[in-house]
């Protein structure tokens, strides 16, 4: 039994072929690169019709209807916004893929601190650019997003899981727990406890199998906050504060990939407004 709020496509098997589009707004094209180089790309290409996939074909079009649309990049220009609306109109299922589309990406770092005009002036001065720019934003600020596939870049196994469940006539289950849990399951020592490292594993949504902490590198939060308001910035900020980190440092670090989370500022204030 599928809940009505889960958009799905008809199972095709050998009767039909699903149509897929891979679109890009403002980003580094890294998500497309990962999608184009998955080990089973030839099998995928045999099973679906790509209507748009700039990284693999110049015969890409934004204007054809598709069953599944993967959208990479943040909305950072008027052109991005027009394209996004066109993609949404033509897609049955729309997936936000990567840190930029899901959470606004690093280009949203200054969100809440610098507005568009100040940002523009600091980069371009009085010069003119080809497109009218917008404050960088995740795509769900403008259109309905059916599923989120985070990561910078996304993980291959998750891309394959999303594709295979859609083609099966089902949908991918959402992850609502943090990288911290996967790190423990991987058997890693905890660098936050042991080295007081500013690891964002406890607030960052899982799926990467704790890629960075497994190499002793503190999580920077590229997958974005745990969904459903379960990213406890306040609790982690308190733990960091007890290790001697300043509010500014913690805020800067959390903002790299979580600047659009509506709970961030309030929870940081809560942590720092509280008596020790």
């Amino acid at each position: 039994m599928i809940l009505p709020d889960h958009e799905i496509i008809e199972e095709c098997r050998d009767v039909c072929r699903a149509t897929v589009g891979v679109y890009v707004l403002t980003s580094c094209y890294g998500c497309q690169l990962v999608m184009a180089t998955v080990q089973k790309i030839m099998e995928v290409a045999n099973l679906v019709d790509f209507k748009c996939f700039y990284m693999v074909s110049s015969k890409s079009s934004l204007h054809e209807p598709v069953d599944i649309a993967f959208v990479e990049g943040s909305v950072s220009t008027e052109k991005d916004l027009e394209e996004l609306k066109e993609v949404r109109k033509n897609a049955k299922v729309l997936v936000a893929i990567g840190a930029c589309a899901v959470n606004g990406g690093v280009q949203s770092w200054s969100e809440g601190d610098l507005d568009y005009d100040k940002l523009y002036a600091s980069v371009y001065g009085n010069s003119k650019i080809k497109y009218k720019g917008l404050q960088a934003a995740p795509i769900d600020s403008y259109v309905k997003v059916d599923y989120y596939l985070p990561g910078c870049p996304p993980e291959e196994d998750e891309i394959m899981y999303f594709l295979s469940t859609f083609l099966f006539g089902s949908y991918p289950e959402e992850i609502d727990y943090p990288v911290c849990a996967e790190c423990r399951l991987a058997g890693n020592p905890c660098i936050l406890i042991e080295r007081d490292a500013p690891c964002l594993g406890p607030i960052t949504v899982a799926g990467c199998k704790a890629r960075c902490p497994s190499f002793g590198v503190p999580c920077i939060g590229c997958r974005g906050p745990v969904p459903h308001d379960n990213s406890w910035f306040d609790s982690l900020a308190l733990a960091f504060r007890n290790k001697g980190y300043s509010k500014d440092y913690i805020r800067e670090r959390m903002k790299i990939f979580c600047s659009h989370d509506k709970n961030l500022e309030e929870r940081l204030d809560k942590a720092f407004g509280r008596k020790k």
Partner: protein, 342 residues
């Protein structure tokens, strides 16, 4: 019960002997502060004096992720992927963790036999090892500090080796098949064993008995501790993932791209995650972080009939490995009414 002595100079030879019987796992130092059960290549890597491992021994019988069956949607068939039953030997398990395994047995074997768990368990050899408590340990008040079952051999530290208690027929055979490693115990060994136990008992930071903890908690579900402490909680699930008795799991189907088949995997879940309490229709039994926090305190203090103990064995992992530094033992004492050491 039979008792023998394993002299210090024979310990590594005995470990080599164990290694020849299957895959040997034992405690290893994995970083500055942490230990974990890992496969033993060089027996010299075994850490005899460790406080606690970051992952609990249940992982050997109930792995964090396993495929339970594959499915074929063309022929409409499922194929169970049962474990092979290769022998594994787990060396250096502390008393609390052995009770933890018996608690796992009560759910995975006694209750509804789980063939995946049971097959691995039947092919597992458990060698216990004595320990001295640190400030995180409270197995004494949980009555799990000394085990009388659940191990094949149990090694108690002596100044010049180990006093070995034999717990099962398998344990007997280990001794019988390798008599060259063992000696009869002397009266001095018995004295030293008693001294070690007395020293150990005096080291616990909490004394007494917590059998009534469950009732105290049930009577104070609205205690302010829960709100205050759950506020610090990261919801990361480390307390449950490192716990030797947590047994909740989630299952997921992974179809192949062509839809002709796939596999069903099960993996460890945690009551600290939002989706743990989420059911069909979108209702959530534990919608807030406080609800989930409280659930663990109640669940861990419930009564396990098989071991006649609480589900919590007092190993201290949930506190030692909590990135938010939440003190389980101290919080329980607070609700119990002592506010600090009992």
């Amino acid at each position: 019960m039979r008792y023998v002595k394993l002299p210090k100079e024979k310990v590594y030879e005995f470990l080599e002997q164990l290694k020849s019987m299957g895959t040997l796992y034992g405690p290893k130092k994995i970083s500055e502060k942490f230990y974990d059960f890992r496969e033993i290549g060089d027996v010299k890597e075994v850490e005899f004096e460790y406080n606690r491992t970051i992952t609990p021994p249940r992982k050997f019988f109930f792995p964090e992720r396993e495929t339970v069956f594959t499915f074929d949607t063309v022929n409409v068939e499922i194929h169970e992927t049962l474990p092979t039953g290769d022998p594994i030997i787990i060396f250096g398990v502390h008393a609390c963790d052995i009770v933890g395994l018996r608690i796992m047995d009560s759910r995975f074997i006694d209750d509804q036999p789980d063939p995946y768990y049971q097959t691995r368990r039947e092919n597992g050899i458990i060698i216990g090892l004595s320990c001295l408590p640190d400030e995180y340990c409270f197995c004494s008040v949980r009555r799990t500090d000394f085990v009388d079952a659940g191990f094949d051999l149990f090694l108690h530290l002596l100044p010049d080796g180990y006093l070995v208690r034999v717990g099962t027929v398998t344990g007997h055979k280990l001794i019988e098949n390798s008599p060259e490693y063992f000696e009869e115990i002397s009266s001095e060994d018995k004295d030293n064993f008693a001294k070690f136990e007395a020293k150990r008992r005096s080291m616990f930071t909490v004394q007494g008995n917590w059998d009534d903890m469950r009732y105290r908690l049930e009577l104070h579900l609205d205690h302010p501790m829960y709100m205050r402490e759950s506020d610090k909680c990261l919801g990361c699930g480390n307390c449950t993932l490192t716990c030797p008795t947590c047994r909740c799991y989630e299952v997921k189907d992974l179809p192949t791209l062509d839809g002709a088949g796939g596999e069903r995997v099960r993996f460890w879940d945690s009551c600290q995650f939002r989706s743990h309490g989420l059911v069909a229709g979108g209702h959530n039994f534990r919608p807030t972080k406080k609800d989930r926090f409280l659930n663990r305190y109640q669940c861990k203090n419930a009564y396990c009939e098989t071991t006649t103990t609480a589900y919590c064995v007092g190993c201290g992992r949930c506190t030692y490995f909590c990135p938010a530094d939440i003190q389980f033992k101290e919080n329980l004492l607070e609700v119990y009414g002592f506010g600090g050491g009992a």
